[in-house]
Symmetry: C2
Subunit: 910 residues, 2 copies
Amino acid sequence: MDRKWVYFFNEISEVEKYVKGKWDDVKGMLGGKGANLAEMTRIGVPVPPGFTITSEACNTYLSSGEDFPDGMWEQVLKGIKGIEDKSGKKFGDPENPLLVSCRSGAKFSMPGMMDTVLDIGLNDKTAPGMVKLTSNERFVYDSYRRLVQMFGNVVMGVPDELFEEKINEFRIKTGTKIDADFNAKNWKDITKEFKTIIQIQTGSDFPMDPYKQLKMATEAVFKSWNGKRAVDYRNAASISHNLGTAVNIVTMVFGNLGNDCATGVALSRNGSTGENRIEGDYLINAQGEDVVAGTRQTNDISKLKEDMPEAYADFDKIIHKLEKHYKEMQDVEFTIENKKLWMLQTRDGKRTARAAVRIAIEMAEEGLISKEEAVLRITPDNVDSFLHPQFDSNSKAEAKATGSMIAMGLNVSPGAGVGVVAFDADLAESWAKKDGRQVIMVRPETKPDDIHGMLAANGILTSRGGRTSHAALVARQFGKPAVVGVTDIKIDLNKRQMSINGDIIKEGDWISIDGSAGEVYNCKLKTNIPDFMDTWLIKLLSWADEFRRLGIWTNADTPEDAKRARSYGAEGIGLCRTEHMFFEPKRLPFLNKMIMTDLAVERRDALDALLPFQRDDFIGLFKSMNGLPVITRLIDPPLHEFLPNNVDLLHDLTDLKIKLQHAVSLQDFDTILQQIKNKEKILARVDKLHESNPMLGLRGVRLGIQIPELTTMQVRAVFEAACIVKKEGVDVHPEIMIPLTSHFNELKTQRKALETEAKKVMKEQGIEIDYKFGTMIEVPRAALTADQLAEYASFISFGTNDLTQTTFGISRDDAESGFLINYLTKNILTENPFATIDIDGVGKLMEIAVKKAKKVKPDIECGICGEHAGDPKSIEFCHYLGLDYVSCSPFRIPVARLAAAHAALKDKKG
Amino acid sequence: MDRKWVYFFNEISEVEKYVKGKWDDVKGMLGGKGANLAEMTRIGVPVPPGFTITSEACNTYLSSGEDFPDGMWEQVLKGIKGIEDKSGKKFGDPENPLLVSCRSGAKFSMPGMMDTVLDIGLNDKTAPGMVKLTSNERFVYDSYRRLVQMFGNVVMGVPDELFEEKINEFRIKTGTKIDADFNAKNWKDITKEFKTIIQIQTGSDFPMDPYKQLKMATEAVFKSWNGKRAVDYRNAASISHNLGTAVNIVTMVFGNLGNDCATGVALSRNGSTGENRIEGDYLINAQGEDVVAGTRQTNDISKLKEDMPEAYADFDKIIHKLEKHYKEMQDVEFTIENKKLWMLQTRDGKRTARAAVRIAIEMAEEGLISKEEAVLRITPDNVDSFLHPQFDSNSKAEAKATGSMIAMGLNVSPGAGVGVVAFDADLAESWAKKDGRQVIMVRPETKPDDIHGMLAANGILTSRGGRTSHAALVARQFGKPAVVGVTDIKIDLNKRQMSINGDIIKEGDWISIDGSAGEVYNCKLKTNIPDFMDTWLIKLLSWADEFRRLGIWTNADTPEDAKRARSYGAEGIGLCRTEHMFFEPKRLPFLNKMIMTDLAVERRDALDALLPFQRDDFIGLFKSMNGLPVITRLIDPPLHEFLPNNVDLLHDLTDLKIKLQHAVSLQDFDTILQQIKNKEKILARVDKLHESNPMLGLRGVRLGIQIPELTTMQVRAVFEAACIVKKEGVDVHPEIMIPLTSHFNELKTQRKALETEAKKVMKEQGIEIDYKFGTMIEVPRAALTADQLAEYASFISFGTNDLTQTTFGISRDDAESGFLINYLTKNILTENPFATIDIDGVGKLMEIAVKKAKKVKPDIECGICGEHAGDPKSIEFCHYLGLDYVSCSPFRIPVARLAAAHAALKDKKG
């Protein structure tokens, strides 16, 4: 038997058998549209008769040098026969002609990128037959000229402008303002002229033979897979080039045959709010494109109930049936032809994050899906979008209604950006930094040299580039809203302006870009910071909590942070950076003194002065986290970070020395000289503390070993605070974390010294505290020797930022504004390892560490407190590693709760 | 049966049975001296009768609160009985008295640190008996007063000064110049006075009972194990405190009973040259201490043949017998008493490195030991010492003869250091750097703040501290000769002088220190750079080559280096650092131009100009290494290293700006302004290239990816050179090494680009070259993903310096002059990981890498080219890892050849 290239819509079970049952593969064979048409047919939803030519046929056609595969055309002919039987019409029959559409339909939606030909079957003989059948001559000849125009352009390659010019000519000739005013005769004449255009342009006639029409249209759709537009789109959207497209041949049905006809689109639930009510628009006696084009005022779907009660009842039943069948909110197209309802398409409906959350919850509560499924349906990005400023929906709707939405591009980095246009990075930076203006940087494409401008801007807009372009990567990297690849924009850098579909926007004009939707507006839209604590989201996250195994802790340095984090669901503090406590104006002088002195007694005095400040901080933290663990990391950064940098000092000295040349009095001279001496003293200390690679220098535990009184003071502050709050009835669980350990002896030494101090404080205060001592794992050696460390640590916590720096040998500060972007653009790295854990390298070390540590101490507490702890992919990895918790910034907690649940649910599924 | 605490010299097999046969444990029980006395007795060498009280007895005594263990004293009494039987003399018998010595003897030699009492058994009754027996009254009463003096001091705790004062008194009273002029009567009187001193000082009499003498002496020796001197010594020399000392009770024999008596010391071979001829000194009618003290002119041992032919024949036979028995060059003490030869001690002889090599080879050639054993006997330090300047042996001998050797200390860091004394680090640095003087820095002890002085000095001398003191660690670290813990030195920092045993040395005076021997001289000794290519060493290394499995390659950047390395035995170049080729004055301007320009065309021009230079370098290298592989590492350091640093530029700018204020003419003003502009331009580029952690920045393969034409030029230079020399008949094997890879995609991208260039060159030149492409493993991620890298690498080479930096998260430049020394001093790290591979961390990564790489590509070439490749311990580890080669600096090649052989031989032994 010949290979099967063609499937009737009612043959979906055969496809399933062929691909062994996977829906995804069914979609691969039949395309998304074809698969859904077949699925609707199977469950008894009225779909116009038709069949699908598989994407395999397309691929075979394209790879064979554009020959139909053996047997395909014969199967298509059988297909047409089948449709004829079902519809009672006949292809090419002048009396009762069958018209079909020939539509592309790939596995993944590529809106507008591929070709479609409608009304196939019309010719000089069948047109009059159609007129008889429909009693609507104008409709028939309009349809006929559409076929010729579309066919001429899509299939035969005639530029569409030629056809449009011809229509214009007729408009002038007949004094007609809009196309709708052409009568049947006009369209008939135009059609004739179109045929002549085709003859002149191609040397061939428009084919009268319906089968020739169909054959040529099918080939054209196949070929359109490799059309430039389609290839560019796939490159930008990261869709594989070897999928091919299926072709759907469907009986034409018409919503514009009279007042018992209609056409419309609808969502089974509200796409903005998620409310469980059908949302949609329709038009009586119209064609599908009329609804979408916005040229006529559409009716709300609820009115259809009054206009066509029976059809509406059918529709209502069907759309709910589809939702129930797909267990998803559906986006459908339908046509009513002479009272008969036909469903032309169904697919999962697009929705806002807010709607997605409500729909998932309500569907679970309706029993349509399980709680697990509801949780799995919400992506971390959905939750994330609750945290970004969004455009005010009224402001946006108004802008759309007034035509202020001027272009669409790729939505590569979410968020709402508003600002004045700046066409180069220097200007963007200068306007933003010096003039305090809000800026959107607009470029044909961006380069590494543009980064300073991108960082200064509120958003980035480019006319070229795809999802992995430089602009997209940088924007995502730095959380800037961005829309890229907006091909409609023409930038004229000489005139300092751009034109978008005829609109001129000058440098300095306001625009708004929606990085989540890919939209560009020529106005200043209002933005909202959405209410993060949305009721539906709270519910969803509480469900997520039921499934996750990972604890969600937070990084917080102040009682305020801690409170906020706790309100978002934090179950502990995984990282309190004590050095942040030193940066306050009242405290910094003492720290400076400690650093500047060579005298032990002065150093001790300075530390004694700092102690009460730190103790108060901890008191606040412990109270906020009553009942939960609080991990305090001892001072980590190199001491020179607390002093001015040497280049600034040198500049100051230069200025002072020049000033000294111009001293006007002896007193003036003395004053300046004194200033110079002071600066030089500081500079001398800065030079002494200077390190060529401070990231790998005297910091972390090394500081504690070098200046023991510094960390001892910190531990005293923690334990004094703990004792004080415990006496007040607070349930307190301090954990002391030693940073940057690379050798167990560091831990052994420091722990001994610090635990001694802790015990001393508890004895002084006469109270016992439940505490832990542990270490960060931030350098490869710590991971590789975690078994040795575990002997002296009650917990380990991965500092994956430093661990990534040392594992790769990459300094983040330098690389992220440097070669790392180049690496990502060139695909040398597919992900920024500082955003998502590098599983092969850093992840491997984490795995080794957890395994080794647990071997020695099975109940050792393991966590992560780097930025990765807020990244969903990394959270999934941490789940698989068997960590006890992830500790992220307060704003990432909701995302982390969801991601942790996803990880657990995926793990359960296996 | 009672436990056995006492063993006769002829009972060694019982000891062996008790400790299960291990010689090391026999030495532990009997001490080194006792074990060798027993061993000599076993093989029939004449040893005065005696026995050993074990170190176990000592330990039991010390731990029990100073009680002899049960049964010990009874066994000692039996021992005395045994000696009496053998010697025919009787302890305490006035007619025929037995005299014995009571000598300490621990497992490890602690010269002069512990106590000994001679002539036990003499008293007022036995002395006259001895006079009768020896007919030498003066000798007997001299011996008697020695016993009383030694006993009084060592056993009864009377300060020796009191005895010496008394002798002085007698000298004045009798008008005697030197002790030798005292007659029997004088000594008799002095002895009497000594007894009075003891009575007054201690309230007790000098014991007349020989058994009481013996008991008290034994206890004193036991206690001396915990004496301050001994404890300090053990701390400094890293000897365990719980070994205890054995006590040897030996029949006294006398070399000073007449002209048929003699005493001497000898080595079985020459300790300086290794020549196979007995070397030694003796005196007729003298005591052992007379030979050592240097107060009388000794005779060369060869003269004994004439003086006492029979005794010499015996001696010659015995010393060779001992050497054959121990299979080692022996250092012996002997006494001839009335023509009868007695051996008093034997031990392995000390020797210079040069002698060690010759002796090992000749012993192997004599069949005494195997070739393997000969190779194993030479330590890497021995070979290393061939590379350090040494003191000229004549100069040293002369200095010793004239009393210029003024003190001894711990030999903690080898080499010869000559210079003027500087008592603080700042002065040391200033004299050395500013005045170009040679300096020895002398301190009570050193601190981290002293490092700049230590680095500037030629050597370091301290009065305190042991083998792991700060001074010792830093000195070894930086290869500076050092002698520490010279307790005889009293430093007076106020007077800027030191006194050593009464000698005053002022700041600025010349001294010399021998870090290999621990000696201090108050003069300027001559130094030699020894002939490294010593014939014996060459032979030894050729033997080593027979056993080693590891290849020994070298790091060389110039043809000269390559030639030298090849002459030392290099089998390939494992690392040619191409950037070193850029630093030459003729080339640097082009490189600067390449860095300073933003124009691609200027960059290409600059690179084109550099190409011929690099090509010529490679031509030279390839010719030098004809037939051997040459690994070229592409440019590695960050580009800003080729430009001035920003602080220098800022200083220059300050100067120029101040100069501008004082410009005397418009022309002057313009000139300075132009200079300022130029500097500012350079500064701008330096700032642009600035990285906060350059070690982790834009360098290595990242440079090649960022500026592809740079590495392409280098590969072109390599391949053009290879083609040119191959046409001239040179057998050339270039290997291109890509540095700092962290991800396989870097390698994939660069290799593709570079291999394309290589093939292009070979096509242009019409010649095929046998080449390899590979990568360094310098960051943990590369090690962890070596399997992925191996897909694109024909070889891997560990850069363990960077790998250590990234694995520990330590910047070597910063740490080695900073906290790392602190870590080593505090024993947080036991070894500097930049000197010896850290096996638990870095080593673990290397193991993972080799395993993973070989899994993918079993024949992948694996090597190491960091500094560790010249370190013996690290070489041993590389052997076990199964690396193909180690590549070290040319001067380390001999050491590496030996160390590789040691590793292989140890591996074979298992």
